[in-house]
């Protein structure tokens, strides 16, 4: 059961890697840090709404968050005013979607206020007895929104200027962004360097025990409620993503950009917007994975701990094993990696669990370099 729960989390993170790779053809090394950020933001949100018992955080967001959000909103208002003025002076019709900065800034500030509204909703729900599950859900949404916003900003600031640069440069930038997120997370004003314990936001009890006892005295397989909720949430999110990618107009645009960026642009698809959307989508899934991971393993390490990086790498391996650039492959790969890791740890040896994962990676790459569900791409001369 652990295997399925963790495997579905791997799949959630792997989706972010695979979507970005599918469109931009680069490995977003900062993605695992978004996952960590998701876990830590859900911790911060939980303590801000009064969940953590011995929390030294004040109730509500940290003061600097207010400053950032207020400044963002002010910038949005000013930019909208300027754009409106210039549009009316030039006699154009004002449409905020086609402005250079006003639209983006307005979107960002509305987004940030929505995250804060979620936080207060979660606080209200926390204070009422029967609504605790709702509070947990709102904290999850808050973490997803915040991570989406962070990822959006990072994409616009760090990656967008490098659209035409060699891929290695983008990769180094991703490593730089990753370093930035890791070390910014360690600051005292953010999350600090001490590991903390995540409060249990989701109810947990043993639902059922399968097997066990008997002559060999094997321990029974326990099905925990938190695993079921976690895997269930992950599954719902994945189904939603699958619907989004394969059944909606946005998804068709994403697939078109991934297939051929230039032609997609010629067909009138707003490529930049699609890329930003992809980043935000991946970050939101990673944040959800972070939240669920923190529910399952409540000990939160500091943001630069090697454990986190290794988790992100395994998720990346899942994306590659499933066929990078392939959304359904990433889901399959995540589950496969989870199963292999936990069954290997259980029946062979716990010490070598990382070896199984990377061994699987190497075997898959040598036998079928494009992954299980990936298509082989021939070089054009």
């Amino acid at each position: 059961m652990d295997a399925v729960a963790v495997g579905s989390l791997y799949a959630l993170i792997a989706l972010g890697y695979t979507m970005v790779y599918g469109i931009l053809k680069f490995i977003n090394f900062a993605h695992s840090d978004i996952f960590v950020l998701g876990a830590w933001i859900s911790f911060a949100a939980a303590s801000a709404t009064g969940w953590a018992a011995a929390s030294n955080h004040p109730i509500g967001p940290a003061p600097w968050v207010w400053w950032v959000v207020i400044l963002l909103s002010a910038a949005a208002v000013i930019a909208t005013g300027v754009e409106f003025a210039s549009a009316s002076r030039a006699g154009r019709k004002f449409d905020i979607r086609y402005t250079r900065s006003a639209g983006v800034l307005t979107l960002m500030s509305v987004w940030a206020w929505a995250a804060i509204a979620m936080l207060f909703g979660a606080k209200v729900a926390h204070d009422h007895e029967g609504l605790h599950l709702l509070s947990g859900g709102l904290i999850l949404l808050c973490a997803m929104l915040t991570c989406g916003l962070v990822s959006f900003t990072l994409e616009r600031v760090a990656y967008k200027p490098l659209r035409k640069a060699p891929r290695l440069n983008v990769l180094i930038t991703a490593i730089g962004v990753s370093l930035l997120l890791q070390n910014a997370g360690q600051l005292e004003h953010m999350f600090g360097t001490r590991p903390t314990r995540m409060p249990a936001l989701l109810p947990d009890r043993v639902l059922a025990s399968i097997g066990g006892g008997g002559a060999a005295n094997t321990p029974s397989v326990e099905v925990h409620l938190v695993d079921v909720i976690g895997a269930g949430t992950a599954l719902v999110l994945m189904l939603a993503l699958d619907w989004l990618v394969f059944r909606t107009k946005m998804g068709r645009a994403m697939r078109a950009v991934s297939y051929n960026e230039k032609v997609a642009a010629l067909m009138g698809i707003p490529v930049d917007r699609i890329i930003s959307f992809t980043f935000v989508l991946g970050a939101m899934l990673a944040a959800a994975a972070g939240f669920l991971y923190a529910m399952k393993y409540p000990g939160l390490n500091q943001s630069a701990a090697p454990v986190w990086v290794l988790l992100g790498l395994k998720a990346f391996v899942a994306a590659v094993v499933g066929g990078i650039g392939n959304v359904r492959g990433a889901m399959l790969g995540g589950l496969l990696i989870g199963l292999i890791e936990f069954f290997g740890a259980k029946y062979l040896s716990t010490d070598f669990r990382d070896v199984y994962v990377f061994g699987l990676l190497i075997v898959v790459l040598l036998v079928r370099p494009s992954g299980i569900l990936g298509k082989a791409v021939a070089d054009k001369v």
């Binding site: 290695l168 180094i172 010490d351 070598f352 070896v355 190497i362 370099p369």
Partner: protein, 469 residues
């Protein structure tokens, strides 16, 4: 016909001349290393009152070896390997095992028994120039390199059929597997008698003895997750800079040889070079093996440095990323660029570690900035380009402004009676990450691009405005 033959032979220089031309850089390197060890190190110690500067210089040397060796794979051949630190770990652990257990065998303890050439700390000086311990150390350097090269061959042969990102992922995977394997090794034994009794290879006992009596052989006693501690410190400026020199020589000779041109052709277009008859896999594996050899030697040097606890955790993919950062900052394929970037990347975090030291270094930084800006301005005036000098000047100026801004804010806060409770040291990695991102956006080709410092094309006349680059 014979006349043509004679003429052709005249064109070929005589053996002594060739030998001299081939060998003099080596002697120059050795002389330089001796000077560093005998003159510069004592001077640095008197200047700083400790071995801090010498230690930084040592780290710079090791990083130069790593960056230049990775340039052979990433820069020359255009392959993308992100598991370079794994080869460093292989070399480091091999050398550590040889020196530690060899030293136990010869001397009965693992304290350094170093001669004058390999002392970093004064009180370990035993009087001789070259001791048996030094010999062991040199052997361990070579062995570390060879074992790492063999590992490179084993990793490279299957995986270099892959291209681009997939190769990167496989190298990463191999590195991680290696790290886990090293972390599962048995603890180091500190008891000389026990070490002498332990089997060296120890495969025979797997068959001849019951499982409970198996003893971990020496090659498997590498410290486990806590790392290999108690290693003697042999690495000195002399050894490091000899290896730096050899690495640079090999890299330059390689770049201009037939072999190197095959590497470059693979970088430019793999499909085309294969069509021209270059056996791409073979050359890629060669590049990989050569790079792994030098990474192994660098790991061996690193293992015997003062203040280093050799651990597989530390030589994980983050170390690999550090090396890649150096290569890309220097410019892919530029040896001198990689070396300069290695020095900068080593010094910068050290400078940022302690802001007061940064303030103390202001004259030097301002000096370098002004010098670079002045040379660049003169060249600009003469109509030549020196973009990389501008970026050095720009970076230096940025550093100065940042320092004074931070200093001013702290002083202002003190003056207004609300002292800031900010430890600037906490922000050093953030500043480092930001400068990395900025560098990639502002100067994506790295400091020197594919050129070397002395390439004429780097200093060539600027292209006319509006002309195609």
């Amino acid at each position: 016909m014979t006349k043509l033959f004679e003429q052709a032979r005249l064109l070929k220089p005589a053996a002594p001349a060739t030998m001299l031309r081939a060998v003099w850089p080596l002697f120059a390197v050795i002389a330089l290393a001796v000077v560093l060890q005998a003159v510069l190190k004592p001077w640095l110690e008197t200047v700083s009152g400790g071995d801090f500067y010498a230690k930084v210089l040592l780290d710079i040397g090791i990083n130069i070896i790593l960056a230049v060796s990775l340039t052979i794979v990433n820069g020359f051949t255009g392959q993308f390997s992100i598991g370079h630190a794994a080869f460093m770990a292989v070399g480091g652990y091999t050398a550590a095992g040889i020196v530690y257990y060899g030293s136990m065998y010869f001397y009965g303890d693992a304290a350094p028994h170093a001669g004058a050439l390999s002392t970093m700390i004064q009180d370990h000086h035993s009087g001789a120039i070259f001791t048996r311990g030094d010999g062991l150390y040199v052997i361990s350097l070579i062995a570390g390199g060879i074992v790492a090269a063999i590992c490179g061959l084993v990793v490279g042969l299957p995986s270099l059929r892959l291209r681009g990102d997939y190769l990167a992922i496989v190298t990463l995977g191999f590195g991680e597997i290696l790290r886990v394997l090293i972390q599962q090794s048995a603890d180091v034994s500190y008891d000389a008698a026990e070490i002498r009794a332990a089997p060296i290879v120890g495969l025979g006992q797997l068959f001849s003895q019951p499982r409970a009596e198996w003893q971990a052989p020496l090659w498997a006693r590498l410290g486990g997750p806590l790392g290999f501690s108690g290693l003697p410190f042999y690495t000195s400026l002399f050894w490091v800079f000899i290896i730096v020199g050899i690495t640079l020589l090999v890299a330059f000779r390689l770049k201009n040889s037939t072999f190197g041109r095959a590497f470059l052709s693979i970088r430019e277009d793999e499909t085309a070079s294969e069509a021209m008859g270059v056996n791409t896999t073979r050359y890629k594996v060669w590049a990989f093996v050569i790079a792994a050899f030098f990474a192994g030697v660098a790991g061996a040097l690193f293992a015997h440095t003062t203040g280093v606890q050799l651990s597989a955790q530390e030589l994980g993919f983050q170390k690999s990323f550090d090396i890649i950062i150096m290569v890309v900052l220097g410019g892919m394929g530029s040896i001198s660029g990689a070396a300069i970037a290695a020095a900068v990347v080593t010094i910068l975090p050290e400078l940022l570690r302690d802001p007061t030291r940064l303030v103390g270094w202001q004259p030097q930084i301002i000096g370098i900035t002004l010098l670079a800006a002045a040379i660049a301005a003169v060249l600009r005036y003469k109509g030549r380009s020196a973009a990389f000098l501008w970026s050095i000047a720009f970076g230096g100026a940025g550093l100065c402004v940042l320092t004074w801004l931070g200093y001013g804010i702290v002083k202002l806060a003190d003056a207004t009676g609300h002292p800031l409770d900010i430890k600037l040291g906490d922000y050093r990695m953030i500043i480092f990450a930001l400068s990395l991102i900025l560098m990639m956006i502002l100067r994506p080709q790295g400091l020197l691009g594919v050129r070397e410092v002395w390439d004429k094309a780097l200093w060539a006349k600027r292209a006319k405005q509006g002309g195609k680059p």
